[in-house]
Symmetry: C2
Subunit: 191 residues, 2 copies
Amino acid sequence: MALRVYLAGPEVFFPNAREQGEEKKRICAAHGFEGVYPLDNEIRDAAPLHPEGLAQAISHGNERLMRGADLIIANCTPFRSVSMDAGTAYEIGFMRALGKPVFGYSNIAAPYAARVRATPDAAQAAWCTETRRADVEDFGLAENLMIAVAVLDTAGRFVVRDVAADRVLSDLDAFRDCLALAQRVLAAGSV
Amino acid sequence: MALRVYLAGPEVFFPNAREQGEEKKRICAAHGFEGVYPLDNEIRDAAPLHPEGLAQAISHGNERLMRGADLIIANCTPFRSVSMDAGTAYEIGFMRALGKPVFGYSNIAAPYAARVRATPDAAQAAWCTETRRADVEDFGLAENLMIAVAVLDTAGRFVVRDVAADRVLSDLDAFRDCLALAQRVLAAGSV
C-alpha cells in the first residue's frame, strides 16, 4: 500500500488551493505515494459555525490527517516574511514528535541568516523595535534550527532551489525533488 | 512535585537570553511551576562541532527538554514578521502531538489578519510577489489557526496584551497571566 504523505504548506491560502493540492497528489501518485492535503477535510455544517468553531474543525481535521499519514513533505518557502508559514512549522513539529519522517523544501535558496540580513529592519520589525537587538541565528541552515534539523535528520538534506519570483510559492520542481529523495531514503530504510 | 513548563520563545536570540530565562524561571517558581529553558542544555564539546553539528545538538537537546516537560508556555509575539518565530511554532506542534497542554501569549494584541492588512506588501513579500495573491486567514485569531486552536483547546484563551514597542519581545506581564491561567486550568483538571 502506498505510503501517505501529508502535504504541508501555505498553498492552502492560494486562490487555486484545491488545484494546487490535486496537482501535488498527482505528482505523489507518480512517485508511488498517496498525497493527503489539508483541504481534504470535509468540514460539515460549516455554515452554522462561528469563525472560531470553523478554525477548530479545520485544525482538528488536519491533526487527524497528520496522525493518519506516514510522512510529511513541507513547503518551507518564506511566507509573508523571512521565515516560513507558522502553521507549516507547527505541522513539522507535530509530525516530528510522532516520530514520522520529515522532508522539506524551499523555493528560496538563500539560508535564513542571509535572508534576515538582506531584509531591512523596518520590514522585519514593524511590530517591535526590540527585534533589532536579537541575534541572527546563523548555522548556514535554510530555516530555524528546530525545523532544519528535523528535516536533515530524516532526509540528509533540505531541498532548496531558486525559481522565478512570481512562482516562488507554487513552483513544484523542489517538491518533485523531495518526493524522489523520500523514495530513496525510505527505500534505504534508514528512517 | 512542581509541573515542568517548557519556556518557548524567541528570547533565546536576545543578547540577554540567559537573564531572560532566569527571570522566567523565577516567575514560574513563584507560581508553583518549574521552568525549563532551551539554553539549559549544556552542549558539550561545542568547539569541535561544525555549525550543523552544533545546530543538531541544540535541537536534540530542546526536544529532550520538551519530552521531559509537562506543558509549554510559548511567546507567540510576532518576530521579524507578521507571524511568530517559526521555531516556537514548531515546538507548539511538537508538544501538541505529545498531548501536552499548550499555553500561548503575545505582546501584540492585534489579530493575525489585522497585522497582515497593516503590513505593506513590500514588507511582507520581499521574497515573493506571489504571496500577494494569497488569502489572508481571518478567523479573528491571534495566529495561524493550527497554533491558535492548540492554545484555545488547552487554555480557553490566547493571552494578548499591548506593551511599549521597545519591550514587545521581553515584557513578561502576559507570561505571568499565562502562568496564572495554567494554574487555574490545570487545577481544574480539564486538560
